[in-house]
Amino acid sequence: MGLEEKIPDSIILTSLDKMVNWARKRSMWPLGFGLACCAIEMISTFAAHFDLARYGMEVMRASPRQADLMIVAGRVSMKMVPVIKTLYEQMPNPKWVISMGACASCGGVFNNYAILQGVDRIIPVDIYVPGCPPRPEQLMDGILKLQEIVEKDSLKKVHEEWGRKVV
């Protein structure tokens, strides 16, 4: 017996936050960028058998300027650190990062001079996917968890993070 009953079927009421997040989470564009072993599992996830396109994520972008999700797939060597930092900075806001596999998350089995012990030392990470390398199902689970995060995001919060005033 509320206002809703008076509204015709063709009209949907929502908030801007909900609508934008709904659109964002279903059309994420990952950066096509693999480092090591995990990259092969990432390709497997995108390829025929597992088919990530089911979640609206199959458009791998070769350029960071068109991407909003970075999947750090593999071990990060010291020589690669400035490159990854640059790539992250080149991605337009809003952007998310998945750290895929043990090496990217914490150095994995390689605790030595050459490997960065966790990519979260240089860029902020939203989701950590464990495994060496993670199964494609695990990566999908990470992506679905990220979609939950995106769903709960607020435009207001994001704007504040970028240091802009909300009108």
């Binding site: 090591a36 072993c37 092969i40 490159v83 390398p133």
Partner: protein, 391 residues
């Protein structure tokens, strides 16, 4: 702009979709022509060789998986054969045949990834989907054997990690049958495809003489018509018992290397079939107390086996003083392990002779003076994997 400088420098990679990882190529261009091409490596340097120097002999095996992550079983085999040579261990016949079967299927899996990525570089998008679909079958077999999809560490010093799974034969026969069938589709898609032929024929040519001078191995060498295959030249793991051909090319171009890899896949399936047909019965590990782990079933019921198990797991085993070199024919070429033992339970030095790294050295020969668009084809036809180049 000054009139003197006619060339421009183009930086390709390390983040580039067709460098197969994090390779960087510094190109000097005169218009569309490549003047110099300089591969810059080290973006995936993991320090694996150094890490190996602080590990017990058997703990090195998981690190070898991650060198060439497209062919983990080949790396396991190369390392284990080298340690077996150093320790003078003779493995049972069944282990040899099972290893050959698994390593040949690994070659098929690695070539499938190469086929998918190489053709996607040249614009044949659907090939990647087909290649990865068939690769999943082999990955399933790995999972049944070692419990992991990629990093199996299934081949161990003196044998295998566990006995072959119960449905091993059924699975392998299914793989052989399916991939033989699908290879016909690949042929229809690519071998006669005019666009593919235009992109690969006469592109990235290397002569037999240059190939030998650059110390190339694998399909890169055989593409130029040099008949050298470690499986035939220095048979290991019982390869002398198998009947197979080594395909050779004539022109040394990308198309010949494509044909060779396709034929190698067929030959590998034949070898795997021979291995599964003639697989002898027997134990899955050599009986060398104190060096090779006793079978898991014995560990639970026999006192001596449990003691040896405990001792090997905690302390490893002492290797004699000396150096060995063992080469195998990995999917990329001659993969060698050079191990120096110093009488302790950790290796003094493990040097890997990576075929990808040596083959990558020929990139300037393949591309200089040629068109920029063919650089992608040249990199693809070398079949590099950056984990192996940088280690």
């Amino acid at each position: 702009m000054s009139a003197e400088k006619k060339t421009i420098t183009l930086n390709m990679g390390p983040q580039h979709p067709s460098t197969h990882g994090v390779l960087r190529v510094k190109l000097e261009l005169d218009g569309e022509r490549v003047v110099t091409a300089e591969p810059i490596i080290g973006y995936l340097h993991t320090g694996i060789e150094k890490t190996m120097e602080s590990m017990l002999y058997y703990k090195v095996i998981p690190a070898t998986d991650r060198i060439d992550y497209l062919a983990p079983m080949s790396n396991n085999l190369g390392y284990c054969l080298a340690v077996e040579k150093l320790m003078d261990i003779e493995v049972p016949e069944k282990v040899k045949w099972a290893r050959v079967c698994l390593v040949e299927l690994t070659r098929v899996a690695s070539h499938l990834v190469w086929l998918g990525t190489h053709s996607i570089d040249l614009g044949a998008m659907s090939m990647l989907m087909y290649a990865f679909r068939e690769r999943e079958l082999i990955i399933d077999l790995y999972e049944a054997c070692g419990g992991q999809r990629m990093m199996t560490s299934y081949i161990r010093i003196g044998g295998l990690a566990s006995d072959l799974p119960a449905d091993f034969e059924k699975k392998v026969r299914n793989i052989i049958k399916t991939i033989r069938e699908k290879m016909k589709d690949y042929d229809k898609l690519l071998t006669e495809n005019p666009i593919f032929i235009m992109r690969t024929k006469g592109v990235a040519v290397i002569s037999a003489e240059e190939a030998i001078n650059y110390s190339l191995s694998g399909p890169m060498l055989r593409g130029s018509g040099v008949d050298y295959d470690v499986r035939k030249a220095n048979p290991y793991s019982g390869y002398e018992n198998f009947d197979f051909d080594v395909p050779l090319g004539k022109n040394g171009d990308a198309y010949d290397r494509y044909l060779i890899r396709m034929e190698e896949m067929r030959q590998s399936l034949n070898i795997a079939e021979q291995a599964i047909d003639g697989m002898p019965e027997g134990p899955y590990r050599a009986h060398v107390p104190g060096v090779v782990l006793p079978p898991k079933e014995d560990v639970l019921y026999k006192m001596e086996s449990m003691i040896f198990h405990f001792k090997i797991i905690t302390d490893g085993f002492d290797a004699p003083v000396g150096s060995v070199y063992q080469a195998i024919e990995s999917p990329k070429g001659e993969l060698g392990f050079y191990i120096t033992g110093d009488g302790t339970n950790i290796p003094r030095r493990v040097r890997v002779r990576p075929p990808s790294f040596v083959n990558l050295g020929s990139l300037p020969v393949l591309t200089e003076g040629k068109l920029l668009a063919d650089v992608v084809c040249a990199i693809g036809s070398i079949d590099i994997v950056l984990g192996e180049v940088d280690r």
